[in-house]
Amino acid sequence: MQLKKRYQPGPVSTSLALATCALLGVPAMAEEADKWQVDGSMLLYSETDRVSAIEPVIKASRTFKNESKLDLKLTVDSLTGSSHNGAAVTNGPQTFTSPSGNKVYQINAGDVPLDDSFLDTRVALSGQYSWLLNRTLRATSGINFSNEYDFFSVGANAGLNWDLNQRNTTLSFLLGLESDTIEPVGGVPEALSLQPDQLRTDSSESRTVTDVLLGWTQVMNRRWIMQLNYNLSLASGYMTDPYKVVTLTDGAGTALESESLGGVDIGIGDAQIFEQRPDSRTRHALYWENRYSRENDDVIAIGYRFMTDDWGINSHTLDMKYRWQLDRGWFLQPHVRYYIQSEADFWYESMTAPEYTTVLASNDYASGDYRLGKLTDLTVGLKVGRELPSGRKWDARLEFMQQSGDTDAADVSAVIGQVGYRFYW
């Protein structure tokens, strides 16, 4: 080996600096690309006097050398407490059977009828894989399963994301198919029949849902991005909630007696009929999201959704977040969500005997579920989090939700708490 150049005692610092970088210029740490990004999160949801849920989720994502990406997600959702059974608040006591039909329970005058045998655990698993077809076209495909005591769901989806205008515009198309099987506790009740009669068939029901999503994401300028989605959802099959009833009243706020309508007598105020919903539903949802970053790196996010369906429900959702970027990776994020919906065409707070006769004669639809009635929801919350070196981060949020509608059943207040942590493995 010879000295390549004649030695001059001149400046060597630049060459030395380069050589030092060459010496150190290997990834000192394993790059994120070679690792799984793991997001773990735990949600606690608690309604005053009603449902409580604890929902741990773990999601692992990995980007491969060819820039394809795999997401795997496991959700466990454990519910306890009681939920509204669909019946009206009346000025006399009411009597119901439990979902299985084996037990009878009474609700006092003026109370929201809640069924307290509500206990369920859901386990959901999903996998999504996306890969590049070419530099601007990405394909995605996924499957998901969800299982609970009385419900099983399997779904698949496939779609394309197409980058245009130097990635300033992205068009997406996604098609999803889902098949659900419902096996109600105690059998499938006969719709519109009196609950005390316990007319049930020991069978299962099913439905299919087809979703189409068209998305358009647009970079407006250096600090503003916008997304517009149109989502068409077609559901057909059994959409009725087998555990929900509609109360028959005298029109003055007192529940009728089942025996007066030729039914079995199980107690006072027991004229409750099993609900019936249409066997198809077409939903259109338009979603618009804007994200704007201020000069100081704070981000304003505003989302608006309009939804309309052929059940007569129209809804507007406004969702606003302000991400307040602090020093050393800390951030605070206040959140406000406002939601308003109109009632479904077949929603009844309660039904009179003549109305029942008409509905029964034409095999029409009826539901007393407050979630299909008029509803106004307000959620406010605050999230705090910190981004740590090498991509780790944690966050925690606390939110309060208040629902209200035309009936007391719709008055639900809930606390949402969540903690999350991300790391690379």
Binding site: M1, V12, T20, A28, L388, P389
Partner: protein, 292 residues
Amino acid sequence: MAGETRLTRTSDGWLGRFTAMASPCEVQLRDVSRSTAEQVLKRVAGEAWRVEQRFSRYRDDNIVAALQRANGEWLAVDEEFERLLAYADTCWQLSGGRFDVTSGVLRRVWRFDGSDRVPSADQVAALLPLIGWDRVERRPGQIRLPAGMELDLGGIGKEYAVDRALLLAREHTDADLLLNFGGDLVADGKTPWQIGIENLQQNGVAGQIPLARGAVATSGDSRRFLLRDGKRYSHILDPRTGWPVQGGPHSVTVAAARCTEAGMLATLALLQGAGAEPFLRAQGVRYWCLWE
């Protein structure tokens, strides 16, 4: 290799200590939790011990020892060792042969213990055939060291460990931090650290400089020399002659972006002897020389 680490609280953060490469080592951190400080300390100490274990010439279970045992045969080397060799090669080129990782054999006759045992010219001349980076053959993934020659990465190892440790520490925290391995140090953060520099004191200047980001390394040792017939022999040996460099400073401290770079500039300056200061001035870096 494992050792002990100790973490203590300071007025504005944490101080971690351990021993590696025969030097006291320190990690200083501001504004982090105890658990983060512990993680960083563990990682930094682990890296220091790893580098020491891998490249120390005082061990018989590493690549350096294996190379001696290869006795003139080709030996497969890993990618990290190859990078260090490439760096040593660059330094040899840049110094006109003054920096040479094969010059360690001179220690057989030179022992700088303050005595007057200066070797004879013949003793030194007898070793010269065993010195010369240009006699080392390299090909991708392999190296061949002529029999009898030795390799000593001591002039790079400690500073390299400092730089590596910083990169690894950054995996755990983005807080202000200072790594100090026996005087070779690197700082990275927003608020400056006060760095004491031995050499500054003798000028009557404050012995501290503020350093927020960057590295400082020192080469040379004023306590190691030989004295004979009123002539002082410094421990800086010119591998081309086998004799000490004359007329240079005892030690040189340099500030640069990275510790390896600072350490090498200091070493190269010492090897210039009397030309040390002009050399350092030409590099456009901050430096401190300690003369007699």
